[in-house]
Symmetry: C2
Subunit: 363 residues, 2 copies
């Protein structure tokens, strides 16, 4: 970017774009928070000023998602990757089964960690189809006696997303790292939802977990304190020092979501944004080819390829030159990817769609 | 604080004071980092801009502490509390022993987590003496065959600090959360050093570990990916998304330490700061009574009591009124505590010492 005031067209897959207004508020408050003479980072996590930030963030998330009273909302560290281990550590017995539905690399990683603790079973997988789609609900081989069913609601690498969720007998556990708060959902369908913050919620370094209280009663107890969900629920996520600045930023992002009109509005906005780019793909006469099957397309990560690698390289180089950031596909699959999380503006998506049309016209 | 520009007299125990210049730099760069058109929080952790921040932070810490080449420096999440579990998980066998030296509540917590994984042994404890001192080195009952020896170098709650370290046969593992970078140390004495950032290093949410490479070869392998030290050493702490903003702030704090003239200068400064307050205690004719024995006094946390609880309450109330923050003792022990970490200015300590003398004169 040549001007210091110009914002990049940020399509990063995570960490990713944050609302400009949130960043400006954080900037304004950074040295002196709430007239305390201290930065938010310098406050004790047991001070009234911080506890208010902390509790308001929880309350806002509860309201936005209409989280029922029989669920707790907690903040952890370590990202979704640590959740991959904490879930079986807390809920899987050594001789117990859990159902894993594989829709990409992140579900595979979750499965791998579960193998250390019990017997996870693959209840469905679309790997043979290069993870181009989400399995149909009637194709899931669910075991009613499983400790839980694990899914990844949005698959950043392949650009697929669950559109509806199965009604499971076992508690449904969902990695929502890359589409949390992107659309309204019925929390009652889930036993546990987890998400690293760095896509739709805030900066990296905070993990949000929404957990149904009855799961806590059944959890294993002979595990390390910091890896027990109950340590967090029983101490309002303040057993030890939490990532205070990350929680503050999360709270500011939640205020922004409210100011957008809530999740219905956010969802409509996300749909309109994604449509711009999917249309550029669909109307390109196969100049651009989407990776995901249409019915499984993600509204958060739009994955596509060009005719050959040479042209792809040129596309990415020219896009970079034009101020677009983060359009390279994940290093494991290549191609192109536009991540259009909540905070990515409509105008940014429009700019990309226009660029795609222009690039095609030139080549 | 009445003025928006006035800094509080911040004696918080953690999270705690940060250098004003670091906060001002972060503020200036918050919306547009390095002319990228993005906040540091919006950068991919795999981008060149972020990787430079990340690698520079590691390099600065290596230089400041003269960390030898046979040690790795890694960044984790979860605070010291998660390290309490990771250490035995990685280094203790079920039938193995480890020596724990108890100098306060945090060492007790570390010991408790080790019991889940093997047989920790208390090699020394000063609990019977209300943790008023650090045990003498010749009083330690060390087992040469132990997997490791665990110590807490500075005890925030009691205000004690190790002044020299034992030469151990087993690897010496040290929780330095509250005095890391406060004085030069010989890294070669240690197998592993760990520290939550929120006292001397930066904001909460980052944990720094300095680990001797041969410990990695001997570590247990059948443990979750995110709880293995080797996952972090083998991936330059970028196996998954790290807390990018926290690492950036850590790097800025390290620049500030360099600008102060390095660790010798920092140590002299810390000594001069602590002396102001200890002198106010020692010259008070027992109006103020220090908790720690003199030879074990911490330069980071100065703990003291007044004649009775009523007077203590009044002291804390008047101090608060005068703009002092964080002087309450830990909720588990009461009394008063002034935490004088690296970033607490000399003038702030002087203000407290003066206030203590004035309060005494009045009462």
């Amino acid at each position: 970017m040549s001007s210091t005031n110009q914002r990049a067209f940020n399509f990063n897959a995570g960490p990713s774009a944050l609302p400009l207004g949130v960043l400006q508020t954080a900037q304004e408050q950074l040295v002196n928070f709430n007239n305390t003479g201290m930065s938010i980072m310098e406050l004790s996590h047991r001070s009234k000023d911080f506890e208010q930030v902390h509790n308001e963030a929880i309350a806002r998330l509860r309201t936005l998602y209409a989280v029922p009273d029989n669920y707790e909302i907690i903040f952890l560290q370590g990202g979704a990757s640590l959740q991959f281990s904490m879930i079986p550590m807390n809920f899987l017995q050594q001789d117990g089964q859990a159902d894993y539905i594989l829709t990409g690399v992140w579900s595979e990683k979750a499965l791998a960690e579960a193998k250390l603790f019990g017997t996870p079973v693959v209840a469905a997988s679309t790997k043979d189809h290069h993870y181009k789609h989400i399995p149909a609900i009637d194709e899931l081989n669910l075991n009613d006696a499983a400790a839980y069913v694990h899914i990844t609601t949005n698959n950043t690498i392949y650009g697929t997303q669950w559109k509806e969720f199965p009604a499971t007998t076992a508690p449904l556990i969902a990695d929502m790292s890359s589409d949390i708060l992107s659309t309204p959902i019925d929390i009652n369908k889930f036993g546990l939802i987890y998400a690293g913050a760095q896509k739709n919620l805030g900066p990296s370094g905070v993990t949000v977990v929404i957990i149904r209280k009855d799961l806590l009663d059944k959890a294993n107890t002979h595990i390390p304190t910091m890896l027990k969900y109950s340590t967090f629920t029983e101490n309002n996520s303040l057993y030890n020092t939490p990532p205070t600045f990350g929680i503050y930023m999360l709270g500011e992002v939640l205020k922004w979501v409210e100011a957008q009109g809530g999740l219905e509005k956010i969802a409509a906005h996300n749909e309109a944004k994604a449509k711009l780019i999917y249309d550029a793909i669909d109307e390109s006469n196969s100049f651009y080819v989407g990776h995901a099957d249409k019915e499984s397309r993600s509204l958060m990560n739009i994955t596509f390829r060009l005719a050959d690698e040479e042209l792809e390289k040129q596309f990415l180089a020219e896009a970079k030159e034009a101020g677009f950031v983060g359009l390279n596909g994940h290093r494991s699959v290549g191609g192109c990817r536009a991540s259009t999380y909540n905070a990515v503006p409509y105008a940014t998506c429009k700019a990309l769609a226009d660029f795609m049309v222009q690039f095609q016209a030139k080549h």
